[in-house]
Symmetry: C2
Subunit: 237 residues, 2 copies
Protein backbone atom coordinates (compact mmCIF):
# COMPACT_ATOMS: atom_id res chain seq x y z
CA UNK A 1 0.00 0.00 0.00
CA UNK A 2 1.08 3.55 -0.68
CA UNK A 3 2.19 5.33 2.47
CA UNK A 4 1.25 8.95 3.24
CA UNK A 5 4.91 9.96 3.07
CA UNK A 6 5.08 8.49 -0.39
CA UNK A 7 2.06 10.40 -1.57
CA UNK A 8 3.41 13.59 -0.08
CA UNK A 9 6.72 13.13 -1.88
CA UNK A 10 4.94 12.43 -5.14
CA UNK A 11 2.92 15.60 -4.96
CA UNK A 12 6.09 17.57 -4.27
CA UNK A 13 8.00 15.83 -7.05
CA UNK A 14 5.32 16.76 -9.58
CA UNK A 15 5.81 20.46 -9.04
CA UNK A 16 9.58 20.25 -8.93
CA UNK A 17 9.95 18.40 -12.21
CA UNK A 18 11.91 20.51 -14.72
CA UNK A 19 10.22 19.66 -18.00
CA UNK A 20 12.58 21.74 -20.10
CA UNK A 21 15.66 19.66 -19.39
CA UNK A 22 16.00 16.45 -21.40
CA UNK A 23 18.81 13.94 -21.12
CA UNK A 24 19.89 12.01 -24.22
CA UNK A 25 22.12 8.94 -24.11
CA UNK A 26 23.79 8.35 -27.46
CA UNK A 27 24.57 4.64 -27.87
CA UNK A 28 25.01 3.79 -24.21
CA UNK A 29 25.42 0.05 -23.89
CA UNK A 30 26.07 -0.52 -20.20
CA UNK A 31 22.82 -1.17 -18.41
CA UNK A 32 24.40 -0.14 -15.12
CA UNK A 33 25.13 3.30 -16.56
CA UNK A 34 21.66 3.65 -18.03
CA UNK A 35 20.00 2.74 -14.74
CA UNK A 36 22.26 5.05 -12.75
CA UNK A 37 21.55 8.00 -15.07
CA UNK A 38 17.80 7.45 -14.75
CA UNK A 39 18.07 7.38 -10.99
CA UNK A 40 20.14 10.57 -10.92
CA UNK A 41 17.80 12.28 -13.38
CA UNK A 42 14.86 11.57 -11.08
CA UNK A 43 16.78 12.83 -8.03
CA UNK A 44 17.79 16.07 -9.74
CA UNK A 45 14.21 16.65 -10.91
CA UNK A 46 14.45 15.77 -14.60
CA UNK A 47 11.82 13.47 -16.00
CA UNK A 48 12.80 12.74 -19.59
CA UNK A 49 15.55 10.51 -20.94
CA UNK A 50 16.08 9.66 -24.60
CA UNK A 51 18.16 6.57 -25.19
CA UNK A 52 19.73 5.22 -28.36
CA UNK A 53 20.67 1.68 -27.33
CA UNK A 54 24.03 0.41 -28.49
CA UNK A 55 23.01 -3.24 -28.65
CA UNK A 56 19.77 -4.99 -27.98
CA UNK A 57 17.36 -3.38 -25.59
CA UNK A 58 17.24 -5.28 -22.31
CA UNK A 59 13.85 -6.36 -21.05
CA UNK A 60 14.23 -4.43 -17.87
CA UNK A 61 16.64 -2.14 -16.10
CA UNK A 62 18.81 -3.23 -13.24
CA UNK A 63 16.51 -2.59 -10.27
CA UNK A 64 19.46 -2.65 -7.85
CA UNK A 65 20.86 0.42 -9.58
CA UNK A 66 17.81 2.33 -10.76
CA UNK A 67 15.91 1.72 -7.51
CA UNK A 68 12.65 1.91 -9.37
CA UNK A 69 13.37 5.37 -10.76
CA UNK A 70 12.27 4.25 -14.23
CA UNK A 71 8.70 4.46 -13.01
CA UNK A 72 9.07 8.22 -12.52
CA UNK A 73 11.25 8.98 -15.50
CA UNK A 74 9.96 8.88 -19.04
CA UNK A 75 12.52 6.73 -20.86
CA UNK A 76 12.11 6.88 -24.62
CA UNK A 77 14.04 4.48 -26.82
CA UNK A 78 15.08 6.39 -29.92
CA UNK A 79 16.49 5.12 -33.21
CA UNK A 80 17.30 8.38 -34.95
CA UNK A 81 18.61 10.77 -32.31
CA UNK A 82 19.52 13.38 -34.90
CA UNK A 83 15.93 13.64 -36.11
CA UNK A 84 14.69 13.74 -32.53
CA UNK A 85 17.10 16.55 -31.63
CA UNK A 86 16.09 18.50 -34.73
CA UNK A 87 12.47 18.40 -33.59
CA UNK A 88 13.41 19.50 -30.11
CA UNK A 89 15.45 22.39 -31.54
CA UNK A 90 12.35 23.51 -33.39
CA UNK A 91 10.51 23.46 -30.07
CA UNK A 92 13.05 25.86 -28.58
CA UNK A 93 15.53 23.49 -26.97
CA UNK A 94 19.27 23.98 -27.37
CA UNK A 95 21.57 20.97 -27.60
CA UNK A 96 24.69 20.44 -25.47
CA UNK A 97 26.87 17.43 -26.27
CA UNK A 98 29.60 16.25 -23.92
CA UNK A 99 32.34 16.04 -26.47
CA UNK A 100 36.04 16.80 -26.37
CA UNK A 101 36.19 19.07 -29.41
CA UNK A 102 38.32 22.16 -29.86
CA UNK A 103 35.22 24.30 -29.42
CA UNK A 104 34.16 22.57 -26.22
CA UNK A 105 33.49 24.81 -23.22
CA UNK A 106 33.52 24.15 -19.48
CA UNK A 107 30.13 22.67 -18.57
CA UNK A 108 29.70 25.26 -15.83
CA UNK A 109 29.86 28.17 -18.27
CA UNK A 110 26.49 27.22 -19.78
CA UNK A 111 23.28 28.95 -18.64
CA UNK A 112 21.34 25.83 -17.67
CA UNK A 113 18.24 27.76 -16.66
CA UNK A 114 17.32 27.74 -20.37
CA UNK A 115 15.71 24.70 -22.08
CA UNK A 116 18.46 22.22 -22.93
CA UNK A 117 18.91 18.70 -24.19
CA UNK A 118 22.14 17.30 -22.73
CA UNK A 119 23.68 14.48 -24.75
CA UNK A 120 26.10 11.95 -23.26
CA UNK A 121 27.95 9.66 -25.62
CA UNK A 122 28.99 6.04 -25.73
CA UNK A 123 31.27 4.70 -22.98
CA UNK A 124 34.18 4.25 -25.38
CA UNK A 125 33.47 6.22 -28.54
CA UNK A 126 31.76 9.28 -27.06
CA UNK A 127 29.06 11.12 -29.03
CA UNK A 128 28.58 10.47 -32.73
CA UNK A 129 30.31 13.18 -34.77
CA UNK A 130 27.06 14.21 -36.44
CA UNK A 131 25.48 14.82 -33.03
CA UNK A 132 28.45 16.80 -31.72
CA UNK A 133 28.40 18.91 -34.88
CA UNK A 134 24.71 19.76 -34.76
CA UNK A 135 24.91 20.63 -31.06
CA UNK A 136 24.79 24.30 -30.09
CA UNK A 137 27.53 23.67 -27.55
CA UNK A 138 30.12 20.99 -26.93
CA UNK A 139 30.90 20.74 -23.25
CA UNK A 140 33.58 19.12 -21.11
CA UNK A 141 34.12 18.56 -17.41
CA UNK A 142 37.40 19.84 -15.95
CA UNK A 143 39.74 16.93 -15.26
CA UNK A 144 42.77 17.67 -13.16
CA UNK A 145 44.26 14.27 -12.62
CA UNK A 146 45.76 11.67 -14.81
CA UNK A 147 42.74 9.71 -15.96
CA UNK A 148 41.34 11.51 -18.98
CA UNK A 149 37.72 10.45 -18.86
CA UNK A 150 34.98 9.91 -16.34
CA UNK A 151 32.48 7.11 -16.10
CA UNK A 152 29.30 8.08 -18.00
CA UNK A 153 27.07 7.84 -14.95
CA UNK A 154 29.54 10.03 -13.04
CA UNK A 155 29.83 12.65 -15.81
CA UNK A 156 26.05 12.74 -16.13
CA UNK A 157 25.57 13.09 -12.35
CA UNK A 158 28.04 15.96 -12.08
CA UNK A 159 26.41 17.73 -15.05
CA UNK A 160 22.83 17.16 -13.88
CA UNK A 161 23.63 18.47 -10.42
CA UNK A 162 25.26 21.56 -11.92
CA UNK A 163 21.98 22.15 -13.78
CA UNK A 164 20.12 21.55 -10.52
CA UNK A 165 22.40 24.04 -8.71
CA UNK A 166 21.81 26.80 -11.23
CA UNK A 167 18.06 26.21 -11.27
CA UNK A 168 17.81 26.02 -7.49
CA UNK A 169 19.64 29.35 -7.20
CA UNK A 170 17.06 30.85 -9.55
CA UNK A 171 14.17 29.39 -7.51
CA UNK A 172 13.05 27.23 -10.40
CA UNK A 173 12.11 24.32 -8.14
CA UNK A 174 9.73 26.49 -6.14
CA UNK A 175 7.37 27.40 -8.93
CA UNK A 176 4.04 25.68 -9.48
CA UNK A 177 3.80 23.32 -12.41
CA UNK A 178 1.20 23.93 -15.10
CA UNK A 179 -2.18 22.25 -14.75
CA UNK A 180 -1.43 20.25 -17.89
CA UNK A 181 1.84 18.94 -16.43
CA UNK A 182 0.21 18.03 -13.13
CA UNK A 183 -2.61 16.16 -14.79
CA UNK A 184 -0.29 14.32 -17.16
CA UNK A 185 2.09 13.24 -14.40
CA UNK A 186 -0.80 12.21 -12.20
CA UNK A 187 -1.92 9.91 -14.95
CA UNK A 188 1.54 8.61 -15.82
CA UNK A 189 2.41 7.96 -12.22
CA UNK A 190 -0.97 6.40 -11.44
CA UNK A 191 -1.48 8.83 -8.63
CA UNK A 192 -5.21 8.41 -8.90
CA UNK A 193 -4.71 4.90 -7.64
CA UNK A 194 -2.63 6.22 -4.76
CA UNK A 195 -5.33 8.74 -3.97
CA UNK A 196 -7.86 5.98 -3.54
CA UNK A 197 -5.48 4.20 -1.19
CA UNK A 198 -5.20 7.16 1.10
CA UNK A 199 -8.92 7.71 1.09
CA UNK A 200 -9.51 4.09 1.95
CA UNK A 201 -7.09 4.48 4.79
CA UNK A 202 -8.93 7.55 6.00
CA UNK A 203 -12.26 5.81 5.83
CA UNK A 204 -10.97 2.75 7.62
CA UNK A 205 -9.56 4.83 10.46
CA UNK A 206 -12.29 7.42 10.86
CA UNK A 207 -15.38 5.75 9.46
CA UNK A 208 -15.97 8.91 7.40
CA UNK A 209 -15.86 9.43 3.68
CA UNK A 210 -13.33 12.12 2.73
CA UNK A 211 -14.19 14.98 0.41
CA UNK A 212 -12.32 13.94 -2.72
CA UNK A 213 -13.17 17.18 -4.51
CA UNK A 214 -10.79 19.00 -2.19
CA UNK A 215 -7.83 16.84 -3.13
CA UNK A 216 -6.97 19.23 -5.92
CA UNK A 217 -6.92 23.00 -5.83
CA UNK A 218 -6.27 25.01 -8.97
CA UNK A 219 -4.95 21.90 -10.66
CA UNK A 220 -2.39 21.02 -8.03
CA UNK A 221 -2.43 18.70 -5.03
CA UNK A 222 -4.03 20.35 -2.05
CA UNK A 223 -1.30 19.58 0.45
CA UNK A 224 -3.11 21.25 3.32
CA UNK A 225 -6.19 19.12 2.86
CA UNK A 226 -4.06 16.03 2.38
CA UNK A 227 -2.31 16.72 5.64
CA UNK A 228 -5.62 17.32 7.42
CA UNK A 229 -6.94 14.01 6.16
CA UNK A 230 -3.77 12.22 7.20
CA UNK A 231 -3.92 13.70 10.67
CA UNK A 232 -7.56 12.69 10.98
CA UNK A 233 -6.51 9.20 9.99
CA UNK A 234 -3.96 9.24 12.82
CA UNK A 235 -1.00 9.40 10.49
CA UNK A 236 1.73 11.94 10.15
CA UNK A 237 4.06 12.87 7.34
CA UNK B 1 56.58 3.72 -23.48
CA UNK B 2 55.54 6.89 -21.77
CA UNK B 3 54.37 9.52 -24.21
CA UNK B 4 55.28 13.20 -23.92
CA UNK B 5 51.63 14.08 -23.41
CA UNK B 6 51.50 11.68 -20.51
CA UNK B 7 54.55 13.23 -18.87
CA UNK B 8 53.14 16.70 -19.38
CA UNK B 9 49.86 15.70 -17.75
CA UNK B 10 51.70 14.12 -14.84
CA UNK B 11 53.69 17.22 -14.10
CA UNK B 12 50.50 19.28 -14.18
CA UNK B 13 48.61 16.80 -12.03
CA UNK B 14 51.29 16.99 -9.35
CA UNK B 15 50.76 20.67 -8.79
CA UNK B 16 46.99 20.48 -8.97
CA UNK B 17 46.64 17.74 -6.37
CA UNK B 18 44.68 19.02 -3.36
CA UNK B 19 46.39 17.28 -0.47
CA UNK B 20 44.00 18.64 2.15
CA UNK B 21 40.94 16.82 0.86
CA UNK B 22 40.65 13.17 1.86
CA UNK B 23 37.86 10.82 0.86
CA UNK B 24 36.82 8.06 3.27
CA UNK B 25 34.63 5.13 2.29
CA UNK B 26 32.98 3.58 5.32
CA UNK B 27 32.24 -0.10 4.65
CA UNK B 28 31.79 0.14 0.90
CA UNK B 29 31.43 -3.36 -0.47
CA UNK B 30 30.78 -2.85 -4.18
CA UNK B 31 34.04 -2.92 -6.06
CA UNK B 32 32.44 -1.01 -8.92
CA UNK B 33 31.65 1.87 -6.58
CA UNK B 34 35.13 1.83 -5.06
CA UNK B 35 36.78 1.94 -8.48
CA UNK B 36 34.49 4.69 -9.72
CA UNK B 37 35.17 6.86 -6.66
CA UNK B 38 38.92 6.46 -7.10
CA UNK B 39 38.66 7.47 -10.74
CA UNK B 40 36.54 10.53 -9.88
CA UNK B 41 38.87 11.48 -7.03
CA UNK B 42 41.81 11.50 -9.43
CA UNK B 43 39.87 13.56 -11.98
CA UNK B 44 38.83 16.16 -9.42
CA UNK B 45 42.41 16.41 -8.14
CA UNK B 46 42.17 14.51 -4.85
CA UNK B 47 44.84 11.93 -4.17
CA UNK B 48 43.89 10.18 -0.96
CA UNK B 49 41.17 7.63 -0.30
CA UNK B 50 40.65 5.74 2.96
CA UNK B 51 38.61 2.59 2.64
CA UNK B 52 37.07 0.38 5.27
CA UNK B 53 36.18 -2.74 3.27
CA UNK B 54 32.84 -4.31 4.01
CA UNK B 55 33.90 -7.85 3.13
CA UNK B 56 37.14 -9.31 1.95
CA UNK B 57 39.53 -7.03 0.13
CA UNK B 58 39.67 -7.88 -3.56
CA UNK B 59 43.04 -8.53 -5.09
CA UNK B 60 42.65 -5.76 -7.56
CA UNK B 61 40.21 -3.08 -8.56
CA UNK B 62 38.05 -3.31 -11.61
CA UNK B 63 40.32 -1.81 -14.29
CA UNK B 64 37.36 -1.23 -16.59
CA UNK B 65 35.91 1.19 -14.06
CA UNK B 66 38.94 2.73 -12.38
CA UNK B 67 40.86 3.06 -15.67
CA UNK B 68 44.13 2.75 -13.82
CA UNK B 69 43.37 5.66 -11.50
CA UNK B 70 44.50 3.60 -8.49
CA UNK B 71 48.06 4.19 -9.61
CA UNK B 72 47.66 7.91 -9.01
CA UNK B 73 45.47 7.78 -5.95
CA UNK B 74 46.78 6.67 -2.57
CA UNK B 75 44.25 4.06 -1.46
CA UNK B 76 44.67 3.12 2.17
CA UNK B 77 42.78 0.17 3.59
CA UNK B 78 41.71 1.08 7.10
CA UNK B 79 40.33 -1.07 9.88
CA UNK B 80 39.48 1.52 12.50
CA UNK B 81 38.13 4.55 10.68
CA UNK B 82 37.18 6.30 13.90
CA UNK B 83 40.79 6.25 15.15
CA UNK B 84 42.01 7.40 11.74
CA UNK B 85 39.57 10.31 11.69
CA UNK B 86 40.56 11.28 15.21
CA UNK B 87 44.18 11.57 14.13
CA UNK B 88 43.22 13.62 11.08
CA UNK B 89 41.15 15.94 13.29
CA UNK B 90 44.24 16.54 15.38
CA UNK B 91 46.08 17.46 12.20
CA UNK B 92 43.50 20.16 11.47
CA UNK B 93 41.04 18.31 9.23
CA UNK B 94 37.31 18.63 9.75
CA UNK B 95 35.03 15.65 9.10
CA UNK B 96 31.91 15.72 6.91
CA UNK B 97 29.78 12.58 6.79
CA UNK B 98 27.05 12.07 4.21
CA UNK B 99 24.32 11.11 6.60
CA UNK B 100 20.61 11.82 6.72
CA UNK B 101 20.44 13.12 10.29
CA UNK B 102 18.26 15.92 11.59
CA UNK B 103 21.34 18.13 11.81
CA UNK B 104 22.41 17.41 8.23
CA UNK B 105 23.04 20.43 6.01
CA UNK B 106 23.01 20.88 2.23
CA UNK B 107 26.43 19.77 0.95
CA UNK B 108 26.82 23.05 -0.93
CA UNK B 109 26.61 25.12 2.25
CA UNK B 110 30.01 23.81 3.43
CA UNK B 111 33.20 25.84 2.84
CA UNK B 112 35.17 23.17 1.02
CA UNK B 113 38.25 25.34 0.60
CA UNK B 114 39.18 24.26 4.14
CA UNK B 115 40.84 20.87 4.89
CA UNK B 116 38.13 18.22 5.00
CA UNK B 117 37.71 14.49 5.19
CA UNK B 118 34.49 13.52 3.37
CA UNK B 119 32.98 10.23 4.49
CA UNK B 120 30.60 8.21 2.33
CA UNK B 121 28.79 5.31 3.95
CA UNK B 122 27.81 1.80 3.00
CA UNK B 123 25.54 1.27 -0.01
CA UNK B 124 22.64 0.11 2.15
CA UNK B 125 23.32 1.09 5.75
CA UNK B 126 24.98 4.48 5.21
CA UNK B 127 27.67 5.71 7.62
CA UNK B 128 28.17 4.04 10.97
CA UNK B 129 26.40 6.01 13.70
CA UNK B 130 29.64 6.56 15.61
CA UNK B 131 31.21 8.15 12.52
CA UNK B 132 28.21 10.38 11.83
CA UNK B 133 28.24 11.50 15.47
CA UNK B 134 31.93 12.37 15.61
CA UNK B 135 31.71 14.28 12.32
CA UNK B 136 31.78 18.07 12.43
CA UNK B 137 29.04 18.17 9.82
CA UNK B 138 26.49 15.75 8.46
CA UNK B 139 25.69 16.56 4.86
CA UNK B 140 23.04 15.61 2.33
CA UNK B 141 22.47 16.12 -1.38
CA UNK B 142 19.19 17.70 -2.39
CA UNK B 143 16.87 15.11 -3.91
CA UNK B 144 13.84 16.39 -5.73
CA UNK B 145 12.40 13.27 -7.23
CA UNK B 146 10.91 10.15 -5.87
CA UNK B 147 13.94 7.97 -5.32
CA UNK B 148 15.34 8.85 -1.92
CA UNK B 149 18.96 7.89 -2.34
CA UNK B 150 21.72 8.14 -4.89
CA UNK B 151 24.25 5.56 -5.92
CA UNK B 152 27.43 5.98 -3.82
CA UNK B 153 29.65 6.65 -6.81
CA UNK B 154 27.16 9.27 -8.01
CA UNK B 155 26.83 10.97 -4.61
CA UNK B 156 30.61 11.03 -4.27
CA UNK B 157 31.08 12.46 -7.78
CA UNK B 158 28.58 15.25 -7.21
CA UNK B 159 30.19 16.10 -3.87
CA UNK B 160 33.79 15.94 -5.14
CA UNK B 161 32.95 18.18 -8.08
CA UNK B 162 31.30 20.70 -5.75
CA UNK B 163 34.57 20.76 -3.79
CA UNK B 164 36.44 21.16 -7.08
CA UNK B 165 34.12 24.03 -8.09
CA UNK B 166 34.67 25.96 -4.87
CA UNK B 167 38.43 25.43 -5.00
CA UNK B 168 38.68 26.34 -8.66
CA UNK B 169 36.80 29.59 -7.99
CA UNK B 170 39.36 30.38 -5.29
CA UNK B 171 42.28 29.60 -7.66
CA UNK B 172 43.44 26.71 -5.52
CA UNK B 173 44.40 24.60 -8.54
CA UNK B 174 46.77 27.29 -9.81
CA UNK B 175 49.13 27.38 -6.88
CA UNK B 176 52.48 25.58 -6.88
CA UNK B 177 52.74 22.48 -4.74
CA UNK B 178 55.38 22.30 -2.00
CA UNK B 179 58.77 20.83 -2.85
CA UNK B 180 58.05 17.99 -0.42
CA UNK B 181 54.80 17.13 -2.19
CA UNK B 182 56.41 17.26 -5.62
CA UNK B 183 59.26 15.00 -4.57
CA UNK B 184 56.98 12.53 -2.84
CA UNK B 185 54.59 12.29 -5.77
CA UNK B 186 57.47 11.97 -8.20
CA UNK B 187 58.64 8.99 -6.24
CA UNK B 188 55.19 7.45 -5.78
CA UNK B 189 54.34 7.86 -9.41
CA UNK B 190 57.74 6.64 -10.60
CA UNK B 191 58.20 9.78 -12.64
CA UNK B 192 61.95 9.33 -12.59
CA UNK B 193 61.46 6.32 -14.78
CA UNK B 194 59.35 8.39 -17.17
CA UNK B 195 62.02 11.05 -17.24
CA UNK B 196 64.54 8.54 -18.51
CA UNK B 197 62.12 7.49 -21.23
CA UNK B 198 61.81 10.98 -22.57
CA UNK B 199 65.53 11.54 -22.49
CA UNK B 200 66.11 8.31 -24.36
CA UNK B 201 63.62 9.50 -26.91
CA UNK B 202 65.44 12.80 -27.23
CA UNK B 203 68.78 11.10 -27.65
CA UNK B 204 67.43 8.67 -30.20
CA UNK B 205 65.99 11.50 -32.30
CA UNK B 206 68.73 14.11 -32.00
CA UNK B 207 71.85 12.14 -31.17
CA UNK B 208 72.46 14.57 -28.31
CA UNK B 209 72.43 13.99 -24.61
CA UNK B 210 69.91 16.28 -22.87
CA UNK B 211 70.80 18.34 -19.84
CA UNK B 212 68.98 16.42 -17.14
CA UNK B 213 69.82 18.98 -14.46
CA UNK B 214 67.42 21.36 -16.09
CA UNK B 215 64.48 18.98 -15.80
CA UNK B 216 63.65 20.42 -12.41
CA UNK B 217 63.59 24.03 -11.37
CA UNK B 218 62.96 25.00 -7.76
CA UNK B 219 61.69 21.52 -7.06
CA UNK B 220 59.10 21.44 -9.83
CA UNK B 221 59.08 20.14 -13.36
CA UNK B 222 60.63 22.62 -15.74
CA UNK B 223 57.86 22.60 -18.30
CA UNK B 224 59.61 25.06 -20.61
CA UNK B 225 62.70 22.91 -20.84
CA UNK B 226 60.58 19.81 -21.23
CA UNK B 227 58.75 21.40 -24.12
CA UNK B 228 62.04 22.52 -25.71
CA UNK B 229 63.38 19.00 -25.49
CA UNK B 230 60.21 17.56 -26.94
CA UNK B 231 60.28 19.97 -29.85
CA UNK B 232 63.92 19.13 -30.52
CA UNK B 233 62.92 15.50 -30.53
CA UNK B 234 60.30 16.31 -33.18
CA UNK B 235 57.38 15.78 -30.83
CA UNK B 236 54.63 18.09 -29.75
CA UNK B 237 52.37 18.13 -26.76
Amino acid sequence: MTTPRRIYRLSQAIHQRQEDIIIALDHIHDQHNLSAVIRTADAAGFGKVLWVPDFKVPNELNPEVSRGAERWVDLKVVKDLKAELKQLKEKGFKIAATHMARRAVDFRSIDWTQPWVVVFGNEHRGCEDAIAEMADENIFLPMLGFVQSLNISVAAAVTLYEIQRQRQEKGMYDKTASKEQVERLYKEWELDKNKIDINELYTRKTGDIPDMEEDYQDGRVNLKYLQKKLEAAGLSL
